[in-house]
Symmetry: C3
Subunit: 263 residues, 3 copies
């Protein structure tokens, strides 16, 4: 696979997708969204890949949409309406595809993640950052409220904490991001990769089939009432029990040995 | 505008609504609810106002419903049923109107906020308190569970943290309120106003049109599934892009100058 | 009442249900689920009981489903499908019954709670643990994702924090469980019971009728939109006002005396 704005690395079942458009602050231009959508699809069908890490090159993890591109479309006949509709829909689909992806996606942030960049890390299953990383939804400063970023943000952190980020546009540091639940942990910058790889490898050692079943069920049950969620997940548990990897996993556990996953 | 139980102040686009019924612990009597509903409506149509601060005079920020009033209606033919229905509906509408208000509402708490008083600050977009402020939903102590207060409370803090407040009725201090996400920050008492004004002025410097679009979308998308929320906010982003303030904001950003908002 | 896998104690309106199957790590075997379901039903109709504490004997609070039992059903004609369906449904109903129970259920954890054991404490209204207690949803390690446990877990802690527990299967300590909102507080091991009893007795001193009204409304309104929740709880508040315990409670409060609850 060959991309212009991203790099990829694969080793030990870990697939690293690296935002590599430093001069444009790794913005989610149409091309970047297309490349990311494509690479996630490739990762979906690659059976060697068990865990995806999303990282970046440069001081800015991702600065959101490309404002120069956005503004340039205002000269079109419809003032850009068609383009904006398409772009925000494509971007929303990319974010949803991270939740729908069968493989866990871990954001490894070393830098600043703003606007749709903050949306991107909110959409990942897990997120870890270096101590000097920062986060913001500053659309309000440029007259474009972070309305799509707030979808995963307000489903990740509390109502008032999301509102403060959205209304002030202020950068928050990694420690505050951790305290409000936006990220899972903060590591020393030089230990970030080592720690994230450790977590990624741990998850990669599990049965892929099991993780696929569970991750899919997680996001589906989140939008259900308690009763619906239990009816649904009870069925999922039964399906999971009938999968060969649960037989192997439970048997290995009872025999006090390591499991040999089929999937 | 002239009110009996509240005071208002306006300066630099900041509108301060001050609960001013100290002898009744700023309770949400029928009259207080009416005055608050009216003043929020006035603030809605006043284009000079960009941010609302809700504060109070006295040691009690707001003690919830007026219990003397409530009990006095028991002697009516229907044991007060009609009155209670009307009052709780009026109060619920007041709370919802804060979410629907086009201008950000910041609770500035220096004192004790209990029952519907705690509901009031849960309903505000942002909340900041002095270090000696306290919060409780103590209805359970008087045989009247805080069932309406728990609506915004349980949408602001975690399930178990809400339940502890509701079942014990205990006061929690500002530090705990911060740790569970009920408020955004705690300041030294003498620095509270200065800090809140700084935040309010920062928000007031943004485009009102942008904040109106974003705040409205925030509460609407909160009740949607992830897919619905993305479909909805993608449209909002396009509408926002077509607004003159986003053109000005993005252009100013690209030209490295301050924006001149039209709205 | 006589049970084989649990013990019960009753004193001062506090009912203690103690998981007492230490040699099986207090697993939720079919028999254990049946006994728990039965004892919660008994507690429902016992008017002396005002608060329920759920605790355990042994180093493991509850290790989830009984894996030996589960695996043994694979030899059946349908590979256990019928049994698993029934078991996960029974277990889900037990969990939901804790939310539906008219009496507050407090988990008092001194030990390790994993998988459906972690689900059990997530399902309780309140949870307090000793400092050396630990929590995990480690199904992923045995090829059986914790899909039913994640239902209450993801409604108790944040999205990313739930995902980290589910994908890594790692044990978290009491301090972390507190920081993510899984439990209400952590106490020194030797002070755990004393502190939980204090909280239980405080709640037991309230009107049972009031708590029944409020607890029921809490879980119902959680699954509603904001508007629906307010319409619903406004009605509940009126009903509550017309109950004799709210008349007594409010009158006692205004007369500065202790209330004498009828219920």
């Amino acid at each position: 696979m060959s991309f212009r704005l991203i790099k990829t690395e694969k080793s030990n079942n870990i697939f690293n997708i690296i935002l590599n458009d430093e001069k444009n602050q790794n913005t989610l231009s149409e091309e970047m969204i297309n490349e990311l959508s494509e690479v996630f699809e490739i990762a979906e069908s690659d059976n060697e890949i068990k865990v995806i890490i999303l990282s970046s090159i440069g001081k800015v993890f991702c600065a959101g949409h490309n404002l120069k591109d956005l503004n340039s479309k205002r000269s079109e006949n419809d003032k850009g309406e068609h383009y904006y509709k398409k772009l925000f829909q494509m971007c929303s689909e990319l974010m949803i595809s991270i939740n729908k992806h069968s493989k866990p996606v871990i954001a490894m942030i070393n830098g600043i993640a703003t606007a749709a960049g903050c949306q991107l890390i909110s959409s990942c299953d897990l997120a870890y950052s270096s101590e000097n990383s920062q986060f913001a939804t500053p659309g309000v400063n440029i007259g474009l409220f972070c309305s799509t970023p707030m979808v995963p943000l307000s489903r990740t952190v509390g109502k008032k904490q999301a509102m403060e980020m959205l209304l002030t546009g202020d950068l928050i540091d990694a420690k505050k991001a951790l305290s409000i639940g936006l990220i899972n942990n903060v590591f020393d910058t030089e230990k970030l990769e080592e720690n994230v790889l450790k977590i990624a490898n741990k998850i990669a050692s599990k049965s892929s089939a099991t993780i696929k079943i569970g991750k899919d069920a997680f996001y589906k049950q989140k939008d259900m009432s308690l009763k619906e969620a239990y009816d649904y997940t009870s069925k999922i548990m039964t399906e999971n029990m009938l999968h060969k990897d649960s037989e192997e996993g439970i048997t290995a556990f009872l025999e006090k040995r390591s499991p040999n996953w089929k999937d």
